[in-house]
């Protein structure tokens, strides 16, 4: 080995070394650094280091590299230990994945008494003030017009005519069209391709029955799984068996809070026909009417019928659900936040008698596409919601 290494070194000096010799040199360096050389060879090697800067440099470089490898190895092992500890502690219940308000609990423990006193004073004050306000204030006029579509007589008549024309044209080809006249309408969108969709609560509340219509004009009957007028969210389920499930939806639900000024777009059915209408705008305030933190304020043009439509950000994530606009101001539209959908799904899941297992959307697959393509993909998952 000694002689081979020596040869290799000499060859290297003459810049004629081969891969084999280079390997032997490396081996020599490694044995030298690991103190595995016999004394005689070591002496020769050290001599060589002194006389030959190139060998010396290789030794320095390799020792640095080995140190780096050593640290790298420690780092990797430490990281895997950390991961083990993490899952071990989660399993043992010592730490909780998602225990958000820990600091608040600490604070609560600390200031319990102060808070109690303050709260009772505040409570009394608030009660008396609200009593006074209630007594003196004029009866409030709702400034928000919910954007469900009140279909007037003319449209109804027109639809009847349409119906007759359709019937004449198609004869019995549209058996799913409900016979009665609709009361109002809005927009809904799928959150699970199996046939679950989200819309605004005010569209479907107090309905005798609810139907949806896709852009091709097909009708499906739906039932409401969940209605929350507070957050203006309703979750519907398609109960018609001629509905063809969609395997994967193109968009996703956003988990974080949207940012001020973010560009948004929506699609909806403000017309009585199932013609889809696109609009874009921006997030103009992070809270809604009177500082409501469950909603956003948007600057987007919206009309009756747009209610329940999804608000998308540029990467195709749903950030909210359009719910209404302020009648006393121009271009002020409000949308319920996506977070409310999560809450709704959670509520549905909690009800153990419910057999519906709603699987949430994967990451948005239309991220980075241009707007036209995004719309093309979203279109099929949008429905006009019609209340009877």
């Amino acid at each position: 080995m000694f002689n081979e290494a020596k040869e290799a070194i000499l060859c290297r000096l003459q810049k004629q070394y081969t891969v084999m010799e280079e390997m032997q040199l490396l081996d020599a360096v490694e044995r030298y650094l690991g103190n595995e050389m016999p004394a005689e060879e070591r002496e020769f090697f050290e001599q060589l280091r002194k006389t030959n800067p190139e060998v010396d440099q290789l030794v320095v470089e390799h020792s640095m590299f080995l140190q780096q490898m050593d640290r790298f190895s420690d780092w990797k092992q430490y990281k895997s230990t950390l991961n083990e500890v993490h899952s071990h502690l989660v399993d043992a219940g010592s730490i909780k994945d998602k225990a958000p308000k820990a600091t608040i609990i600490q604070l609560w423990k600390k200031y319990q008494r102060v808070v109690a006193v303050a709260a009772s004073i505040a409570g009394i004050t608030a009660l008396s003030i609200s009593a006074i306000v209630y007594y003196f204030a004029p009866k409030p006029v709702s400034e928000i017009r919910l954007l469900s579509q009140e279909l007037n007589k003319v449209k109804i008549i027109q639809q009847r005519t349409d119906q007759k024309v359709d019937a004449a044209l198609k004869e019995k080809s549209a058996p799913y069209r409900p016979p009665a006249d609709p009361k109002s309408g809005g927009t809904g969108f799928l959150i699970d391709g199996k046939g679950y969709l989200v819309t605004s609560a005010h569209i479907v509340a107090d309905a005798d029955s609810v139907y949806i219509q896709n852009i091709k004009g097909d009708y499906f009957k739906v039932t409401a799984l969940y209605i929350n007028k507070q957050t203006d969210i309703a979750v519907l389920k398609i109960v018609d068996n001629h509905y063809q499930p969609i395997k994967s939806l193109p968009y996703a639900l956003q988990k974080n809070i949207a940012d001020l000024g973010e560009e948004v777009f929506t699609m909806g059915f403000p017309r009585p026909s199932s013609e889809i209408v696109y609009n874009k705008g921006y997030l103009s305030a992070k809270t809604g009417y009177n500082g409501d933190t469950t909603t956003y304020q948007l600057a987007i043009s919206a009309n009756p019928g747009n209610s329940g439509g999804p608000i998308f950000n540029h990467s195709g994530e749903v950030i909210g659900i359009l719910s209404g606009k302020q009648t006393t101001a121009e271009g002020v539209v409000f949308s319920s936040r996506t977070k409310n959908i999560f809450t709704a799904l959670h509520e549905i899941k909690k009800d153990s008698t419910n057999e519906d297992r709603i699987k949430l959307l994967l990451p948005s697959s239309i991220k980075g596409l241009d707007r036209l393509q995004q719309i093309k993909k979203i279109e099929d998952c949008m429905f006009m919601v019609i209340r009877y």
Binding site: L26, D27, M69, R71, S73, I95, P100, K101, T103
Partner: protein
């Protein structure tokens, strides 16, 4: 402020790769960090990442022989995580909120700079390893990371003898060095 002897013992444990020490620190401080991250636009996964990175900073500190923190371990971890999270938010070009912590913080910028440098080096190494391909990667991992001996490796990878395995190892090592140093030179000014 003098560091609590119990906390010094924990750091000494870290330096010796004592799992018990890791668990203790984890139990005592993880929930605080998770609350910080989640209350500031982050998720539980982010919290886990950030906390583990802070644990690595602590590990590096302990390994370098410094057990004196000049503040409570809790304050130290909090400050490191806060800094790391702010940086992460900036990288994501998310709106950076004013993180107003309830706990006091200490200056950790310098240490984090050293840590950041080291971290990029590790990432370069990881990348170089990935580019290497099989069987080189497994072979080098077995020798330099799992520190198994050559005879054992030769048996496992099906080489006829230890010398063959060794030759193969050196071939791989030369390639790895080339990849690593190429990245290293590009990254250091």
């Amino acid at each position: 402020m003098k560091t609590d002897p119990r906390e010094i013992a924990l750091l000494e444990g870290l330096a010796k790769d004592d799992r018990q020490a890791i668990e203790t620190i984890y139990k005592q401080h993880y929930n605080m960090v998770q609350a910080l991250i989640i209350n500031n636009n982050g998720s539980a996964d982010d919290a886990r990442d950030i906390f583990q990175e802070a644990m690595i900073v602590l590990y590096e500190k302990a390994r370098s022989g410094t057990f004196e923190l000049n503040c409570l371990l809790k304050t130290y971890i909090y400050s490191v995580c806060r800094r790391l999270w702010l940086k992460r938010l900036q990288q994501q070009q998310k709106f950076v909120p004013e993180i107003d912590g309830l706990s006091e913080t200490v200056a950790v910028e310098e240490e984090l700079e050293v840590h950041g440098q080291r971290n990029t080096e590790f990432q370069m190494m990881e990348k170089a390893m990935q580019h290497l391909g099989e069987p080189c990667r497994s072979l080098l991992e077995a020798f330099y990371i799992q520190k198994r001996n050559m005879l054992d490796i030769a048996g496992h990878f099906g080489y006829t003898n230890a010398d063959n395995a060794k030759n193969q190892k050196y071939k791989c090592l030369m390639r790895l060095k080339k990849l690593f140093f190429a990245a290293y030179k590009n990254n250091t000014p």
